[in-house]
Symmetry: C2
């Protein structure tokens, strides 16, 4: 039987928020309450950045209505951060943990956060301070290794698929005026979110007709050829594109490099540019003479709660709960993973992956999810991703349009 390690638990949220990240937080709070080994339940305000200023809050003093309300509140209720922890900072973290008798540390975040958690665990181990560290996956980018998928992705993907379906119908209706819609999604290195637009498509006429992801080199001449060809066939073209696709010289397409900001991890933040889709709109107009519109929902996709994925909510909770119960059982240095159950009905259980194996790696779209020409997504992706969106996507209709015989020439 595992040792009963008594002490306080600290939980933090890090990186970009999602529509369901608070489900993981609520799970941590509620699961912690079940174990008498866990005394105080503290939240870091704005992640490790706040922790380093000893900015902790007592989550057990929050009202029950507030905790319940978090289940329908998007984004990170504790506040988030993008702070690159320095070696001195790790010493300070350990000092703070000792001072507050923190014995459980649960960090909800992406791969940078898993790296932070891993280093905290290592240092505690080096200094023989007994600490149980667990990571809870969170990212709408879906780019964490060793988990089937990431909480936050299903809801964002659902929004992108729905937005594609709806604005695809708009384009069909407006085809005598608009030629091309270009939907740009977030996603720095991985094309998971742009690929989710493909889930909107059930027939050749349906949007999207072309999808471009960072996993493939973008060839401008092929893109223009594809748009022209699709327009000739259908009379309209719906394009979904990741915010950061790269050309043959590895330059991000359409990004004015002089205005790109970097976050603390050295990741380029594309928010500073007018973006890939605006660039594509310009070349479509200048080189093909087609009228294009840009749709750039940006953060709306990751936060929109009014059409959230129910399995995503459930799994965000599940991973948070599992992190606490595994820690109480004596585990440390792991991220909770989602493991898809075999069989015809979708379901997930949880597993564990060493934090160091998840830290700082990006899980990209596998090549079998991208078509040969690199301008579309395959049915294998649909099989993987569709269950993550929850309730079936709506079915839209098209009039059959029985022509009335003409009476005039």
């Amino acid at each position: 039987m595992a040792s009963q390690l008594r002490g306080n638990l600290v939980v933090g949220q890090s990186g970009g928020p999602t529509a369901v990240i608070n489900h993981s937080l609520v799970a941590v709070i509620q699961e912690a309450a079940k174990h008498e080994a866990i005394e105080g339940v503290y939240g870091m305000v704005h992640g490790v950045g706040g922790l380093l200023r000893e900015n902790l809050i007592d989550l057990r003093r929050e009202r029950q209505e507030t905790i319940q309300g978090l289940l329908s509140t998007p984004a990170s209720a504790l506040g988030s951060c993008r702070y690159k922890v320095t070696p001195q900072d790790y010493e300070r973290i350990l000092q703070i943990f000792r001072a507050h008798n923190v014995r459980y540390f649960v960090y909800i975040g992406g791969n940078d956060s898993m790296d932070t958690a891993h280093r905290v665990a290592q240092l505690a181990d080096d200094r023989r301070y007994e600490l149980r560290v667990m990571g809870v996956p969170k990212t709408m980018d879906n780019d964490l290794a060793l988990t089937d998928h990431c909480p936050g992705y299903g809801s964002a993907a659902r929004f992108i698929a729905l937005a594609t379906m709806d604005t695809g119908k708009d384009l069909e209706a407006m085809r005598t005026f608009d030629d091309v819609n270009i939907l740009e999604t977030l996603g720095r290195n991985a094309g998971w979110l742009a690929a989710s637009a493909f889930l909107a498509k059930r027939s050749a006429e349906d949007a999207p007709h072309l999808v471009y992801v960072p996993e493939r080199t973008f060839h401008e001449d092929e893109f223009l050829e594809d748009v022209r060809e699709t327009h000739r066939e259908l009379g309209y073209v719906f394009v979904a594109v990741s915010q950061a696709i790269r050309d043959e010289q590895h330059r991000t397409v359409g990004t004015d490099l002089s205005s790109v900001a970097e976050d603390a991890f050295g990741h380029k933040t594309m928010s500073q540019s007018s973006g890939t889709a605006n660039y594509l709109r310009r070349i479509v107009s200048e080189k093909l003479g087609l009228h294009a519109r840009v749709l750039r929902p940006s953060l709306i996709a990751r936060d929109f709660t009014s059409c959230v994925s129910r399995p995503d909510q459930k799994e965000a909770y599940l991973t948070g709960r599992s992190a606490v119960s595994h820690a109480v059982q004596g585990n440390s240095g792991y991220m909770v993973t989602l493991v898809r159950e075999p069989g015809p009905t979708y379901g997930c259980t949880t597993g564990l992956a060493p934090l160091q194996d998840v830290a700082n790696t990006d899980k990209l779209l596998p090549q079998e999810y991208i078509n040969e020409r690199g301008n579309g997504i395959t049915e294998a992706f649909r099989e993987y991703a569709l269950p993550l969106l929850g309730d079936p996507l709506p079915r839209y209709v098209r009039l059959e349009r029985f022509a009335v015989p003409k009476k005039l020439e």
Copy 2:
């Protein structure tokens, strides 16, 4: 009793689609079926543009499942157009109507469409061809005169309010990294849609903090002052802005005029520029050193059906049905209007307004809905607009954040 005018009915959809415009179409089809004076029910494919090519379809031959399915299908199922009708075209329309014994013409659209309908009615009258012409209001811009509001607006406003609430929470969570979110909405001359972002706000901390609409001259210096001041107070700033605000010289802010396209009515289409919000993002960065993100959902707001306003759906149906029943009763040359019932509970009946009084006029936001400085919206607007969004907006929570006493200095 009105004369029994027997003949066929033609219905068309024009201008930008909405999430509920097909409700008006279904209402026209279903109401027409109740009157034996109406024989065939024909749809114009892509509005008057299609009509001029005698491109009519027989809506009575569509399957019942398809007609029912239209109630959950966004955008204009008949296809839309933006075509400016010429004097010769009107003669041709009348010729086509005569050839097909069209005696009822229902046009679902905005003020350009009401102008087209008005001129058709006038010409028929001049030529003593008995024709009953009715307009059905449709625009998410909410800028039609003489109606309390327009079908299509409530759903678009609901989307913008929800997106503001959700990305407002994102900004609060990310305040240690992001300083400013700038949400750009559609809306050429009227600020109704940008104003709807204000409905997200229930407390000073809630987004949006600043709202800019085309009804007020935009002063860049005041904008920068407002952003700096709000950032100093709260640590983050959420800005909602119409796509076409104008400066002291009546220039559209941030629009590269060399790349602006015009539609058939001479309206500038902003889709050709990288837009107002991108410009504001740039000056916020360059002049205040703040990190800003641009949210530009564009068409998603007008088409998104997954969180549609129920009264909006109902009223789109109501206006379509009313148009047909009024026409059968002998009325012609009117647009159906929505008339708000007095009393504490929201409800609307329908009325009639002469097409010529609606044609080519824009109903702007009244001054009492805009605050004195022109950087925000008033409670009087909330009273007007909130019922149009249907179900109550969600209630989000904030942690009370009871500080854990610090143990280190």
